[in-house]
């Protein structure tokens, strides 16, 4: 029967240790969720953004239950420190994400921070935000006329080279 845990083993631990302690970690995540709901795209250290992503998506799932739901309102009241964002959450974000079953956020890594710590940074955004897109979707150019003609020409050359 294991009565104590070895110091450096953390098998199965789901949550990262951030900030000064558990309370500080929750406060920090709460500030970040509030910022994400307000600005819809924020830049943060990758570990904090990754940790915050789950909490943000669960908050949106609670918001989808509707603002008449008592539990949803209490969750939103706790997690959003600026109270005008509760209105935005229930009136803008919940209808926006109603058709989708999950994954309301996008997390992308950006080049390391310019200061001395060179921290691994990420940008996390809510899908459907009004800003310019971070990644341009690459159009498949295989079926364009020019590429099909060039492909035919290449195959003809190969057939002529190896009879």
């Amino acid at each position: 029967m294991r009565l104590s845990v070895a110091a450096a083993i953390s098998h199965g631990r789901m949550y990262r240790q951030l900030g000064l302690g558990p309370r500080s970690r929750l406060d920090m995540l709460r500030n970040m969720v509030t910022a994400l709901v307000r600005h819809e795209r924020i830049e943060a250290p990758w570990a904090r953004a990754d940790e915050m992503r789950g909490y943000a998506e669960r908050l949106i799932e609670y918001a989808k239950l509707g603002d008449t739901n008592e539990r949803a309102m209490r969750m939103a009241n706790f997690w959003l420190t600026e109270k005008d964002l509760i209105h935005k959450l229930f009136k803008v974000l919940a209808p926006r994400f109603q058709p989708y079953p999950g994954s309301y956020t996008r997390l992308l890594q950006i080049p390391n921070r310019d200061s001395l710590d060179r921290a691994k940074m990420a940008v996390i955004e809510l899908k459907g935000n009004p800003y310019p897109p971070l990644i341009r979707p690459q159009r498949n150019t295989e079926k364009t006329l020019l590429n099909q003609l060039l492909k035919g020409y290449r195959e003809d050359m190969q057939r002529a080279a190896t009879p």
Partner: protein
């Protein structure tokens, strides 16, 4: 040199002994002359259990040998490491910097980027534009804590809101639409 640095204890004891001697000579001149003390009844204080004085002579004799003794049990290299051995250690693959094979060129701007990271130049462009859009939004909202309860759409020069943008808040940007911001 190492022994001098790592054995401060005899030095400390010497210092303490000298301080104690000065204290006795300075504050209690009556005692040094082996006369009765000029003070009246004194409080009984808790002093050190044993005075360092009787130990002084024996410590003075041991001062020298303890330094050499401490040098005897410190680790030191026996022989000079040859340049061949040094080269083997310094050029071992685990000490060399690893070559990164995950660097590519961005298809949009042609700058270098890591495969799993966004292009720095393109992200800086998008960040500057979002900052300008947010300034316009700030001007429209007026003050802090005025988040709108409707969606937002950004329109550039000469663009009209379509039927999709029915109940949305319009943000005007006074420039031509950039090629990388596709309207949808």
């Amino acid at each position: 040199l190492v022994g001098l640095v790592l054995s401060p204890l005899p030095r400390l004891r010497g210092l303490l002994q000298r301080c104690w001697g000065q204290l006795e000579r300075g504050l209690l001149p009556g005692f040094s002359g082996s006369q009765s003390p000029p003070w009246g009844p004194a409080l009984a204080l808790q002093g050190p259990a044993f005075l360092p004085e009787p130990v002084r002579d024996s410590r003075e004799n041991n001062e020298g040998p303890s330094l050499l003794d401490s040098i005897m049990w410190m680790a030191a290299p026996k022989k000079r490491r040859t340049i061949e051995v040094n080269r083997c250690r310094r050029r071992n693959p685990n000490k060399l910097i690893k070559v990164k094979t995950n660097i590519d060129t961005c298809p949009e701007c042609g700058n270098l980027k890591q495969k799993h990271v966004l292009c720095g130049y393109c992200y800086a462009k998008v960040k500057a534009e979002t900052r300008l859009i947010r300034m316009e939004m700030g001007k429209k909202e007026g003050g802090p804590f005025n988040a709108p309860t409707v969606e937002t759409v950004v329109l550039y020069d000469g663009e009209k809101p379509t039927e999709k943008d029915e109940g949305k808040r319009i943000i005007e940007r006074a420039r031509k639409r950039p090629s990388w911001f596709v309207q949808n």
